[in-house]
Symmetry: C2
Subunit: 311 residues, 2 copies
């Protein structure tokens, strides 16, 4: 993650403190949030100081590792957000390490380093899909902020930045995580434009989008993908316009215990995230994720290669 | 249009003044904008004091009728906004009346009265499509505010309010005209919830939307429909989920000089409408409308009946 020309991670350990770029404050300012225990980490996940499935996983890993009572910490952290699979995977990994008598903090460090390496590999595999001059649409922020470094959807884009590419950034209401993506692209010097989510279909239909790449919060056994609300609409419209639609995610996002997407729990967040920008309150509903059936997905870019779904 | 229990129009003539509810101020406050000449009317259309294709048409009709030089006024008003067909139709109607030696103000009054009556009839035809307990999705504001009274998309909904209906209101970024719809529904006591535009597909896919009704800005000869940005996405996703998708519009919105939707000029508005809610400026694009090909439309509800497109 490039921040004013300096390479850094969006979350890292310093002694027994977990430091993270406070994503609620971006892009206005770069502020560091310090978590000193599992309660701070739980707060950070719940309030979206840290967000993005892989980054949430790393934060939770450290939360368990730092706790005196790792079982209690695991329970606390599992209750923060229900949709991202990495959270549960990371907690299970650290609990497993503890059970095997390993050093929990070292296990969390390894988990963090592995996520960065997985994202780097996702970038390597994914960049081959991007041709010179491609105009790529992305939704939400599946960037370095969401994954410590590189990103999932943004990793291939970062690595293809010498290919004269352009990125359409869905603003991603209600929480406008698209601005985090735009901020990362600014930092990297990659051409882009933010659009109202409603305009994605317009540009697709006009032939101005060559491919779509998004991240994922949870992937079912049949490759149905839960991701930020709106992903489903974009996937349906992409398919209708024969635009390749790729999901980028490490294997930690795959949940083999869930047969298909209909069984993924979808978090419904406070309606205030919707009406908060209005001049006054209105009755509102706020599902934070949706499920994109595998049939709309061209392929899933993982650290081990691309799973082709559209044959 | 019900405003605090009192019936009124969103735009009306008093002597030689045109009064209109200032839609930029809603829903915070009900403020009346007074136009004293064609320049005031042009400002009101451009700045969206008045909006919605039929209401823009009525405003322009009065603008021409009030002017000393009706030809110059017509030119001025035609240059305000390019997409809504009613604008051009209304101006041509008044110019025609003047040419035939008719009283221009009377012609504009008749044009206004006719729009209200057309919307009433759209409501009568459209309400037959709405079954008891229906959950209806709408996009933007095609309500009484956009049409003086009743609305186009909202006319059938108003007239079916005793059928225990529920309305999903797309917030309709970037300008959030969904709030005008929510405000109208509040005034009428019709159950509703505002949602981020991204969530429309989620609720459609969950089987929680029984039909979609939207308005239109211009309808081509082949029934392709230009309407608020995002309409196209909703139509594609509705079709994918076998949800009836209706457009409601008076015949003044039909442009027989345009063969198909690809020839409709799409207004691109100031990018500030997109980034204005962000903590700081980002590069942005802002097309205000899109075109929904006729193949995604179940039918068009007009004052003369329903044009069935999906046989």
């Amino acid at each position: 993650l490039l921040v004013n020309g300096k390479e850094m991670h969006s979350l890292w350990r310093e002694g027994m403190q977990i430091k993270m770029i406070d994503q609620r404050k971006l892009p206005q300012k770069i502020e560091i949030f310090v978590a000193r225990n599992e309660h701070d980490v739980a707060y950070a996940i719940k309030e979206m100081v840290v967000r993005g499935a892989p980054a949430i996983g790393v934060a939770a890993a450290y939360g368990v590792a730092m706790a005196r009572d790792s079982k209690k910490a695991a329970e606390l952290l599992q209750a923060t957000r229900p949709t991202a699979h990495d959270l549960f995977h990371a907690i299970a990994t650290i609990l497993g390490a503890i059970e095997h008598g390993e050093d929990a903090v070292k296990a969390a460090d390894e988990y963090a380093a592995a996520i960065v390496e997985k994202c780097r590999k996702i970038g390597e595999h994914g960049k081959k899909l991007i041709k010179h001059g491609y105009r790529i649409l992305t939704h939400c922020n599946a960037g370095a902020l969401a994954t410590l470094d590189y990103g999932t959807a943004l990793a291939p884009i970062r690595m293809a930045k010498d290919k004269d590419i352009f990125v359409w950034v869905d603003e991603s209401r209600p929480r406008l995580q698209g601005l985090l993506t735009a901020w990362e692209l600014e930092q990297e010097g990659i051409e882009h434009a933010v659009i109202a989510d409603n305009a994605a279909g317009y540009f697709m239909e006009k032939g101005m989008v060559d491919m779509v790449i998004v991240g994922a919060d949870r992937i079912a056994l049949n490759y149905d993908v839960a991701n930020k609300i709106g992903t489903y609409e974009k996937a349906v419209v992409a398919k209708e316009n024969e635009i390749p639609f790729y999901v980028a995610a490490p294997l930690t996002t795959f949940d083999k215990s869930i047969e298909d997407g209909s069984k993924i729990e979808i978090e419904e967040r406070d309606a205030k995230e919707v009406y908060g920008i209005y001049p006054r309150k209105f009755k509102a509903r706020n599902p934070a994720f949706d499920v994109t059936p595998a049939k709309y997905i061209t392929g899933i870019i993982t650290e081990e290669g691309i799973i082709e779904l559209d044959k």
